[in-house]
């Protein structure tokens, strides 16, 4: 009974926080949700431009737009979730004055909002491509969903760990963003792993993102099954980073409540 009550309270808190986050992000400016569409749109058009200027063929399938979409959505899911989880406590600190609001609730609501946003963005883009006459066939929703879920775990874990380090070493914030920016270029957003020389892939295959993006694309394209990604490695990294994030959060959240 008590557990049920506690879950009920937590459910109320998380849904209230999710509503508040949604309003804060999309309710205050006139353009609102347009910005959520703009970022993937910018990436996609830039790469369509680059590839056609270089006269390169589409790496996979026959639509460059579709190819970029299936790379940029997982990438943004990762990088946006990390920064939203990192910034969550600071922008909601006052709400912790309510005893039933836990730091973890803030994290959960931000992750839910990000995952839902990008899912909707992806559907809108797919609808747009379909309207433009691009043929869309999806191989396995389950595979896509698995990669999507693992990306959420990984990003939440990294975000929680970062959120705990920043108050101790404030300069860590800029170090993290300096190191994470090049990640974009080695995560397979605009190429597939089999484009790379084996030695090159061997040098970057520690990066779980390239495995997850390959996984995501393998789920999307019926004609594509990457043999280079290692699902066991990806699962192991995501689950352990997430677990570490939760441990760190427990220690950090006690401190977060002190004013």
């Amino acid at each position: 009974m008590e557990l049920f009550q506690a879950l009920n309270v937590q459910g109320r808190v998380i849904s209230a926080l999710t509503l508040r986050e949604t309003r804060a992000r999309y309710g205050n400016s006139k353009l609102g949700f347009f910005w959520a569409l703009f970022e993937p749109f910018a990436h996609i058009t830039v790469f369509i431009g680059i590839f056609s200027a270089l006269g390169r063929a589409v790496p996979l399938g026959d639509s460059m737009g579709l190819f970029m979409l299936t790379g940029i959505i997982p990438w943004l899911l990762y990088s946006n979730t990390v920064s939203n989880v990192m910034g969550g406590l600071n922008s909601n600190k006052s709400l912790l004055g309510y005893p039933q609001v836990m730091p973890m609730d803030i994290t959960i609501s931000r992750v839910v909002l990000e995952a839902a946003t990008l899912f909707i963005v992806m559907l809108l883009f797919l609808a747009g491509f379909f309207y433009l006459g691009v043929r869309i066939e999806i191989d396995s929703f389950l595979q896509m969903f698995s990669a999507y879920a693992l990306l959420i775990l990984l990003a939440t874990g990294v975000g929680l760990i970062n959120a705990a380090i920043v108050p101790i070493y404030p300069s860590y914030q800029s170090i993290y963003s300096a190191f994470s920016r090049p990640l974009y270029f080695i995560s397979g957003v605009f190429f597939t792993a089999d484009f790379l020389q084996p030695e090159v892939f061997a040098a970057i295959d520690f990066n779980p993102l390239i495995h997850l993006i390959e996984w995501f694309r393998s789920g999307f394209y019926p004609s594509f099954q990457s043999h280079l990604y290692d699902p066991e490695y990806a699962v192991a990294v995501c689950v352990s980073v997430f677990a570490l994030g939760l441990i760190v959060e427990r220690v950090n959240s006690k401190k977060a409540r002190q004013v």
Binding site: V9, R12, V13, S15, A16, L19, R20, R23, A24, N92, S94, L95, L96, G97, Y98, P99, Q100, V101, K254, R257, Q258, V259
Partner: protein, 218 residues
């Protein structure tokens, strides 16, 4: 009902630590209005936050039965960039209250007028306390935890608060922190004096105030 079992709480400061409670076991008297006294830094606000559950003890156990408000204070639980209405809706959602009823009550009680649509960061401290009071009155609590904001605002509003508490007297009580001895005298049945490590209860409020005055002179 609120009971402290071997509760310790301290803060790390530059040189060592500031102890607020050291292994304190204490049961707060029920259905009594309690005024908390203590010099600056003795931990009055922290005590309220511990009672509310907004902050955790370093060790020991706090047992709480009944509906306690959040600590009603200036720094508050309000999100500075959300409007009064948005903050109100948030509170309604997490306490599971009827938004329509609470909105009407707060609009009427707080007299904030158009400001209720403005972000909290544009509020004066008087306006913040009016919103906090109105909102907490609309949500029924058994114990109201009031941090300094009593006695803020004009006479008319003070009277309103007094009357609202008076009408809730049967069901609700107050635990309050205030620097105004008049407010403490007005509201409290008993007083708790924070000494910097422990707390003492005084059933004679005036006697506690005298002791407190001695402490502040020393």
């Amino acid at each position: 009902m609120i009971e402290f079992q071997k509760v310790s709480k301290s803060y790390a400061i530059k040189n060592g630590k500031n102890t607020i409670l050291d292994n304190v076991s204490f049961t707060f008297p029920e259905k009594k209005n309690i005024g908390v006294l203590g010099v600056n830094g003795a931990g009055k606000s922290t005590l309220l936050r511990l009672i509310a559950g907004s902050e955790y003890a370093d060790s020991g156990k706090i047992i709480r039965r009944g509906r306690y408000s959040w600590p009603l204070g200036f720094s508050g639980s309000f999100h500075p960039s959300l409007s009064g209405i948005e903050n109100l809706r948030f509170a309604c959602r997490i306490y599971g209250c009827d938004i329509k009823y609470v909105t009407d009550y707060v609009k009427d009680f707080s007299e904030l007028g158009k400001y209720i649509e403005e972000p909290i960061k544009t509020y004066s401290s008087g306006m913040r306390s009016r919103l906090a009071f109105a909102l907490s009155m609309a949500i029924d609590f058994e114990v109201y935890l009031v941090d300094e904001i009593m006695g803020v605002g004009d006479q008319g509003f003070q009277k309103k608060c007094h009357d609202a508490f008076e009408s809730k007297r049967e069901k609700s009580s107050i635990i309050m922190v205030s620097h105004s001895m008049n407010t403490i005298r007005d509201y409290s049945d008993v007083a708790i004096l924070l000494t910097g490590e422990s707390l003492e209860i005084h059933h004679d409020v005036n006697q506690a105030i005298d002791l407190y005055n001695d402490l502040t002179k020393a």
